[in-house]
């Protein structure tokens, strides 16, 4: 009978400072010599991490009431529009928002400034009501002056992602970075064997309520992420090929650090935000042990032509080759480059490992697991 261990047993060991915690890279390196059974008996928790650009991110802010009070209907922060279509002084600021289409300063930069403790210019207008008589306001706010500053990211931590190339004769500026013409480079964006959802691909230990590392503090998985897709084909190692599952995350932005939340601008595409995420995976059975042993050579994704406009799949490649710096496509050697920072992801995995090993980070049983069969709807143009 195969061995099993509950999250509560693991937590008991964590509380006593006796849990054996390794990073996903350390475990993957062991995989060459050890069986899942051996890993199961020796390792309690594996820490995973990623630090990549995640556009579907943003913050809820409650500014507090002025006197007399106002219902902020249209508002900006450092001139970047925020959404005020909720209660009086609540707003949502999206990471990719900009005042003008080609601005290089946007929502993510405001969020980074607020996390850094800087003052930000708030300007708002409202029609004025009997209960909220004020019609306009202009003042400075910072993370200490506001009530709540909550990061809520609808789609983070993609399970896998495409490799982007450009077949055309023109340089292309995309959310996958600069793509040189005639297959001049190939860009990819995951932390490979260190990436959270590639170490628990069926999400048996990650679900709603899972406690995680988010942007430098503790966060939680709120829901499955948007565009959550379990319908992607799996490779022989059980890894979805291409972008599949995602996570919706929530955490207290007041406690986050600009080391792990960084604003970004992609030329001619726009603003995005690097989000640092770390997820501990409890080794509850041999199946999970076999999953965390996954190596870059066993994780594959699709090479997609981002130049032609029809996003044609040109081939499949593994991450060991992508991380080597060169791949071969159509008989040509192509330089590869990551967009996701493995260096910072390693830092997060190490930090989380220390937190768990020293008893400060207790693991959670998911409150509910994610749907098992989901696909994506297309947007039909019906009028």
């Amino acid at each position: 009978m195969s061995k099993k261990r509950s999250i509560e047993e693991i937590n008991d060991k964590i509380r006593k400072g006796k849990a054996v915690v390794l990073t996903a890279e350390q475990v993957s390196a062991m995989g060459k010599e050890m069986t899942p059974g051996e890993v199961m008996s020796r390792v309690d928790v594996v820490t995973t991490a990623t630090f990549g650009p995640m556009c579907s991110s943003g913050v809820f802010i409650n500014f507090g009431h002025s006197s007399p009070p106002m219902r902020m209907e249209r508002l900006t922060l450092n001139n970047v529009p925020a959404y005020g279509g909720i209660a009086a002084v609540d707003a949502y600021l999206g990471a990719t928002e900009t005042a003008m289409p080609h601005d290089t300063y946007g929502g993510a930069h405001v969020i980074e400034d607020l996390i850094a403790g800087k003052d930000v210019l708030l300007q708002a207008t409202g029609k004025g009501t009997d209960c909220y008589p004020r019609t306009e306001i202009k003042t400075l706010v910072n993370k200490n002056s506001v009530n709540e500053f909550i990061m809520f990211n609808p789609r983070n931590a993609y399970q896998n992602y495409n490799v982007a190339v450009n077949s055309t004769t023109k340089i292309k500026f995309t959310y996958m970075g600069t793509l040189l013409p005639s297959f001049g480079n190939a860009n990819f964006s995951t932390s490979g064997e260190l990436s959270p959802l590639l170490n628990d691909p069926e999400m048996r230990t990650i679900g709603i309520g899972t406690r995680i590392f988010m942007g430098g503090t503790t966060g939680y998985v709120a829901w499955n992420g948007t565009q959550f897709n379990t319908g992607k084909p799996l490779n022989e190692n059980g890894i979805p090929v291409g972008n599949a599952a995602t996570l919706s995350l929530i955490g207290d932005a007041k406690l986050m650090s600009t080391r792990f939340i960084r604003a970004a601008y992609f030329e001619k595409y726009g603003v995005s935000m690097y989000v640092g995420i770390g997820i501990p995976i409890p080794v509850i059975d041999e199946d999970i042990a076999s999953r965390v042993l996954i190596r870059n050579s066993q994780i594959e994704t699709n090479i997609i032509d981002y130049g032609s406009g029809n996003f044609e799949v040109l081939g499949r490649i593994d991450y060991e080759k992508l991380f080597s710096g060169k791949i071969t496509l159509k008989g040509k050697k192509i330089r590869t480059a990551p967009l996701s920072s493995v260096k910072v992801a390693r830092e997060i995995a190490d930090l989380l490992k220390k937190e768990v090993a020293e008893g400060r980070f207790i693991l959670t049983e998911p409150v509910a697991l994610f749907p098992k069969t989901t696909g994506l709807n297309k947007l039909e143009i019906r009028i």
Partner: protein, 136 residues
């Protein structure tokens, strides 16, 4: 005699004119190719040092530009704010001379200023805007 380094950028539909041959034969310019990345049908780059009297160098540059090939002298330097770098690697994607490279095991970005030809592609490729031109 003057020696200067230049970056030549060939369009995908370059005529195939033997530019370096003509620089040597017709203009008597000493040409030293530092780095070449030129293939038919693709944007190509050639980094070379040209040595000749100043007036001849100007004529050589003029000749190159007449062939629809960009010719930019390398007088500028790239400044890189290393302390703010997150080592994502986006800049290494476009650095054809190999000045910006990612360590296979360290996952760290290294900038070798000696190899930089100031093509400026990294300026647009860095999502954190950490590169700038230092005119000296």
């Amino acid at each position: 005699m003057t020696s200067r380094r230049f970056v030549l950028t060939f369009p995908p539909d370059a005529t195939g004119e033997p530019i370096t041959y003509n620089l040597i034969k017709k203009y008597d310019i000493m040409v030293n190719i530092v780095k070449a990345d030129v293939s038919p049908g693709q944007i190509g780059h050639l980094v070379m040092e040209m040595t000749a009297p100043g007036k001849v160098l100007k004529e050589g540059m003029e000749y190159i530009r007449q062939q629809n090939v960009e010719c930019e002298p390398i007088d500028k330097k790239i400044h890189y704010k290393k302390d703010l770098c997150i080592h994502c690697g986006a800049c290494s994607a476009v650095c054809f001379p190999g000045a910006l490279t990612m360590g296979r095991h360290t996952a760290e970005l290294t900038f070798d200023a000696e190899k930089c030809v100031v093509c400026e592609l990294c300026l647009k490729s860095c999502p954190l805007n950490l590169f700038s031109i230092d005119i000296g």
